[in-house]
Amino acid sequence: MNPVDLGGLFLHFLILWFLAIGGPSTIFPDIHRYVVDVHHLLTNAEFAEIYTLAQVAPGPNAMYVTMIGWHLAGWLGVAATTIPLLIPATTLTLLVGHLNERYPNAPIGYAIRRGLTPITIGLVFASSTILMRTVNHDWRGYLITLLTVAVVLRKSLNPLWLFAGGALAGILGFV
């Protein structure tokens, strides 16, 4: 493996996270380009495997960057890829949160929150259908997805049981 330029990695990730409006998925293609195509730090297969593993780990989906950092350079790598993710949240978001609490009835704040809420709902709906089409290969996958929806909307069962059921269905070869 090439020696890793951690400073360069840190700076590149920092710039990307400030551009990540709408969430981590918007910068995913560019992280792939930087790590795999430009600097050859990981092969394409390694990148895909690390990404999948991190998706099923608990926590925000963006944590795959932490695993990439660990794979490249241990704890220093974790710091180089994870700290950039925190910086927009701890500067810009804190500022916006402060303004929103300080002036909860500001007309512009109201218009932004009320106006954009329906768009947010449309976007989360879009994410859920994209995810559904990506992970489900045939009708059996869709059946598990729709059963999950029905159970969650009707019962207050802890959904971790649903995950256990999904894992079991996978191991038994149902999906």
Binding site: Q55, P58, A89, T93, V96, P104, R114, T117, P118, T120
Partner: protein, 185 residues
């Protein structure tokens, strides 16, 4: 911190840390489902509407959406140390788990049984996200305009697969102006 008119429950930093630890450690395949369940249904700290508005702001700001919600939520209830406590709970544990999985991955690679289990769990994760958005959509008023904006955002990103920035750039100004005018009336 400034006092505002909103009546909000007293939430300690420890409670914030624990709640966001719980959200984070249960968040398989996306955190929004678990954040909604913990903050609205279990703790009853905020309403459906406050949650979706915070999430909307979180989505406008760069970075992981639920991380932005975590920062704003912690700040609302306990100032910047509250934000720090919530973020420590939300990111600390997954960081350790992911490193642990990284160590296992380096030693063992991936087993076929693990891959199959992951496939089944991914289908469940998709269902949780769909159920979350169905529950959240109760905040939309019974008026054609919000539903139109929601539908256009869904079609643009979910069906046409246009870049998010284009879709937001095209829809957001109109949506904000419409809400502004509605408020003036």
């Amino acid at each position: 911190m400034e006092q505002t008119e909103t009546h909000k429950p007293n939430v300690s930093r420890l409670a914030l840390f624990l709640a966001f630890s719980r959200i984070s450690l249960s968040s398989f395949g996306g955190a929004i489902f678990w954040a909604r369940r913990e903050l609205i249904e279990r703790q009853r700290w905020i309403t459906e509407r406050e949650f979706i508005e915070m999430f909307t702001l979180g989505q406008l700001l760069p970075g992981p959406n639920v991380l932005n919600v975590t920062v704003m939520f912690g700040y609302r209830f306990a100032g910047w140390t509250g934000a720090a406590a919530a973020v420590a709970g939300f990111l600390g544990w997954p960081c350790l788990v992911v490193v642990g999985m990284g160590i296992l991955y380096q030693h063992y690679g991936t087993l076929p049984q693990v891959q199959q289990a992951l496939t089944g769990m991914s289908s469940v994760a998709a269902g949780l996200l769909l159920a979350t958005v169905i529950k959240l959509s109760v905040v939309l008023p019974r008026h054609w305009r919000p539903w139109l904006f929601g539908a256009l955002a869904f079609v643009g990103v979910g069906i046409m697969r246009w870049p998010l920035l284009w879709v937001m750039g095209a829809l957001a100004p109109w949506a904000v102006v419409a809400a502004w005018k509605e408020q003036q009336q």
